[in-house]
Symmetry: C2
Subunit: 185 residues, 2 copies
């Protein structure tokens, strides 16, 4: 498991056996139930505990009425954006990015689901909050060309110097991008 | 001195006395000459070793013909931007930001020098590469309103998610800004 090597795993195993048998059993049940019951929301492909039903975020009328969908790569990104309170629309989780060599195409990312949402819902803007990497760029271009067929505004979150940082602590490529995408005042 | 506490200072002093007397004397001379001879370029206020003359960057015809001036807070920022090869115009170094409580006003930042450059030179664009802090914002607004009187385009380098970073590793405020300043695709 991420962050737990053989030594830590052994230590945890003996800890549960020696002192926390009941707690260990409880944990095993919680893990079992979670893995059995948490599935993908058919709407946004984020994790949800409500089988075959839209998740809480998708159910919200207020969010749907905003008319925007934010496309992210992972469920963690949804949590990050939610905790920054910067966005109040709907989401769509790709669970990765386009990577034809690894067999990850549009279908694996659920882009057919996204396409049917663009067709059926009243979407005004698609905000791509994908990572600023080559793979993120390719995925963004693909989704942008798809959405433009439906006449939907497509935007991508800004790349640049983070808040509070001085220029010396930013890498050269980010600095170059922040010059490219400078904004008029 | 930054990064050298009393213990390190003592160790350095004894090291020079014990073993490196000649090198220490050479270093003292170099420091003396540098501090005597390095002054501010009358044009861009960056450090230069040529007294009362424009520095190498200001002398370049190619840079001047670009018609843009990049305003930065420190000479270190000039080095950072130069090493990122993202910009090829002239510079102007403020050596700080507006801070009335500390007695740092427009004059202390050399904004009268900048104003006379805007008046006399053929400047098309002023790019503000100031830090993304409250002080940086205030300074940027002040300079922007000054430059607009001369009909010069003012822009500020982009704020947002750095390259290669995933959204989870970026602070909430930067994420919020990157939503605000999203760019159309």
């Amino acid at each position: 498991m991420p962050g737990v090597g053989p030594v830590s795993a052994t230590r945890i195993a003996y800890y549960l056996l020696d002192r926390k048998r009941q707690e260990g059993l409880n944990m095993a049940q919680v893990i079992e139930q979670s893995l059995k019951n948490i599935s993908l929301c058919p709407h946004c492909r984020n994790y949800t505990d409500q089988e075959n039903e839209p998740c809480e975020l998708c159910k919200s009328d207020k969010r749907r009425s905003s008319g925007s969908i934010c496309v992210v790569e992972t469920p963690t990104d949804v949590s990050a954006i939610e905790s920054s309170s910067s966005y109040s629309g709907n989401y769509f989780v790709l669970h990765g990015h386009l990577s034809p060599l690894d067999g990850i195409g549009p279908k694996e990312l659920g882009l057919d689901v996204l396409r049917s949402r663009l067709e059926s819902e009243d979407v005004k803007e698609l905000i791509l909050a994908l990572s600023q990497t080559v793979e993120g760029d390719v995925t963004a271009s693909y989704i942008a060309s798809m959405a433009k067929k439906y006449g939907i505004t497509v935007s991508r979150i800004a790349t640049g110097v983070p808040l509070g940082g001085d220029l010396g602590s930013v890498d050269g490529n980010t600095l170059a991008m922040s010059f490219n995408y400078r904004r008029n005042m």
